[in-house]
């Protein structure tokens, strides 16, 4: 069926590059992830960053926060398990005075409500919803409608919602899904004088594969 030419929701294949360029015109550029996310992170979207422990998902999330706060944006961390480490964040380049930290006393309901309030208040550059290490049972009790509510709250705004968890949470509501894996740990020196050098991780972009020709990356995280 031919698309009505006046309907803006319909695009032809020839219009696709222009549409993508418009959508990413004010995106948040992450130099370290430029191979993975060529156009940066589009505003008004949800991003799932997932992976097991030591897979580098928190490091990637803090890198995104560092880019946003360095550009003068006000960001927020909604922390379920009170596990945010200010020293690590500062070492990653996060401007702590422009970062709001909400500690949610291990209560998933408080966490989701706090995130909801912050997203509806508006004006934040990046909101990091940290659900890592939460029990699967607690996460399964979060209604799926919450993620669509968040998506509606931030669409057409400049806010990016980052969800950090052991497994993808927002699923279809998210624009990007960064799945992280550990490849190896690097140590230096001979026993007993060994020292942790860093961790090699493999983040993979599982969505919008057509827009990102290379959907995986090997990163070395310096300890």
């Amino acid at each position: 069926m031919a698309a009505p030419p006046s309907d803006p929701r319909w695009k032809t294949a020839a219009q696709l590059p222009q549409t993508i360029a418009e959508e990413y015109s004010d995106s948040l550029k992450i130099p370290a992830l430029s191979t993975l996310l060529m156009n940066g992170l589009a505003r008004g979207t949800l991003i799932d960053a997932s992976g097991p422990r030591s897979s580098g998902k928190t490091s990637l999330c803090l890198q995104i926060l560092a880019q946003a706060t360095s550009a003068g944006e006000v960001c927020a961390v909604v922390d379920l398990h009170n596990s945010f480490h200010p020293d690590s964040a500062a070492a990653s380049g996060v401007q702590l005075d422009r970062l709001l930290w909400v500690r949610c006393k291990r209560n998933p309901e408080y966490t989701m409500r706090a995130a909801d309030l912050l997203l509806h208040a508006g004006g934040f550059g990046v909101v990091l919803l940290d659900l890592a290490d939460a029990p699967a049972r607690a996460l399964n009790q979060i209604p799926i409608s919450y993620w669509y509510r968040f998506q509606r709250a931030i669409q057409n705004t400049s806010t990016i919602l980052l969800i950090c968890a052991n497994a993808p949470q927002a699923k279809a509501a998210s624009r990007y899904s960064l799945a992280c894996q550990t490849k190896s740990f690097s140590w230096s020196g001979q026993k007993p004088f060994t020292r942790l050098q860093g961790v090699t991780v493999l983040p993979q972009q599982r969505k919008l594969a057509a827009l990102h020709p290379q959907n995986f990356l090997q990163l070395f995280l310096v300890a």
Binding site: Q63, L118, T194
Partner: protein, 419 residues
């Protein structure tokens, strides 16, 4: 038309005399008082009759003062200060009346006076004859202002000091109120009045203090300090509601007292190319709602403390000021490995082989150690209550994760996981 009274020694008496004729009086630093006489025309008649009435009132008070009446305040002040007796200036004659005055009457800027004297300009008449463009080119805006002063063409409103108000309301209730909703209705009325008073005087609220008189209980007192000064009564009412919901009074309320501590309103120049920030008043309500859930001590911007003590920080207010300049990433493309902290640290049972950890068992953390690095001894602040001394290890377990553990006082703890 404006009347100016000037006497060297009795500024208070002059002010009393001026207040007899007008409630709006400007008092200059030199002791002159000036007020508008236009409203007096219907009562007293022409400027000549008004000046007669003022001089008669001054004579009754045994005041010796100069009086000048002119079409603008600055001309009246200059003539009252430098011409003895009564001076009446009809509109259009300001320049002629000011002409004989010396330049030192206009300004005390010695550098400017020296330049003008070098040019041969000695009186107001000389200065008024200079072309405006030439003066602006050579002396800048200050020179143009002096020339206009000499011409008597500067029109400005009187600088009347703002009335000092106390922003407080006390309401006695006919019946004790136990519910929050009717109380908020009464608060709303009082806050509307206070906020309109604040706005009329270009002020904003920095702090809202409430005192509730309770039935058979000591008074309930609370103070809400706002991070940015507010003038919106709805925002204040919402913050007050959230506070009272978190800390309800113990007994029905007999009376309430609201007091606002005023401050300068927040003025911020926005920029087209600056990143958006949350609206301060909306953010305050949001933070108050979140603080109502998780507690005030759990919301804020982290600030690291000036110590080597592990995990030392405090929560402070969020910085909403627009950035003066954006900071670039110092480490470029280097990504840092960060640690997720377990708070409190997980108590662990650790099996050692040749003084190195070989197996760890803690809530949520269990496995054989594949690789370890350590121990790193850290200690400090032994002279305070927050002293610490520990041996830290980085260990890779067979569950595929990398942890930081430490031994303190013969006990083992898992501090966090690298992620």
């Amino acid at each position: 038309m404006y009347a100016c009274l000037y006497a060297q020694n009795s500024p208070d008496a002059l002010l009393d005399l001026a207040l007899e004729f007008s409630p709006y009086v400007e008092q200059t630093s030199s002791g002159a008082v000036i007020f508008c006489i236009d409203p007096l025309r219907q009562l007293l008649g022409s400027p000549y009759q008004i000046s007669s009435e003022i001089s008669r009132a001054g004579y009754e008070r045994k005041l010796q003062a100069n009086l000048a009446i002119a079409s603008n305040p600055d001309t009246a002040i200059l003539l009252a200060r430098h011409v003895t007796g009564i001076t009446l200036v009809t509109p259009g004659e300001e320049c002629r009346k000011l002409a004989p005055l010396s330049l030192s009457a206009l300004t005390s800027d010695q550098a400017m006076l020296a330049i003008l004297l070098r040019w041969g300009v000695k009186t107001c008449d000389d200065l008024a004859l200079l072309p405006e463009a030439g003066v602006a080119e050579r002396l800048g805006p200050g020179g143009v202002y002096l020339r206009n002063l000499a011409l008597g063409v500067i029109h400005r409103p009187l600088r009347i000091p703002a009335e000092t108000s106390n922003y407080q309301r006390r309401v006695e209730l006919e019946h004790p109120i136990a519910l929050l909703e009717p109380l908020l209705f009464l608060f709303s009325g009082a806050l509307v009045e206070l906020c309109s008073l604040l706005r009329s005087q270009a002020r904003a609220a920095r702090l809202l203090a409430i005192t509730l008189d309770l039935e058979n209980h000591p008074p309930y007192q609370a103070a809400l300090e706002f991070p940015v000064p507010l003038t919106d009564h709805l925002t204040m009412l919402k913050l007050l509601q959230l506070h009272l919901e978190r800390h309800p009074p113990e007994a029905p309320i007999l009376a309430f007292h609201l007091h606002i501590d005023p401050d300068e309103p927040r003025r911020v120049q926005g920029g087209l190319f600056l990143p958006p920030t949350p609206l301060p008043d909306k953010l305050q309500i949001t933070l108050a709602r979140i603080a109502g859930m998780v507690g005030e001590e759990n919301v804020g911007a982290p600030q690291r403390l000036n110590t080597h003590r592990p995990d030392a920080f405090r929560l402070t207010a969020l910085n909403l000021a627009p950035p003066k300049h954006t900071t670039s990433q110092p480490q470029g493309n280097i990504l840092r490995l960060v640690i997720r902290i377990f708070r409190p640290a997980l108590e662990a049972r650790v099996r050692l082989v040749e003084l190195a950890p070989k197996h760890i068992h803690a809530p949520g953390v269990k496995g054989a150690v594949l690789h370890s690095a350590g121990p790193w001894k850290t200690s400090g602040e032994w002279w305070t209550d927050t002293a610490w001394s520990r041996h830290e290890w980085d260990v890779a377990l067979d569950d595929g994760a990398l942890y930081r553990i430490y031994q303190q006082s013969h006990s083992w703890f898992v501090q966090g996981v690298y992620d």
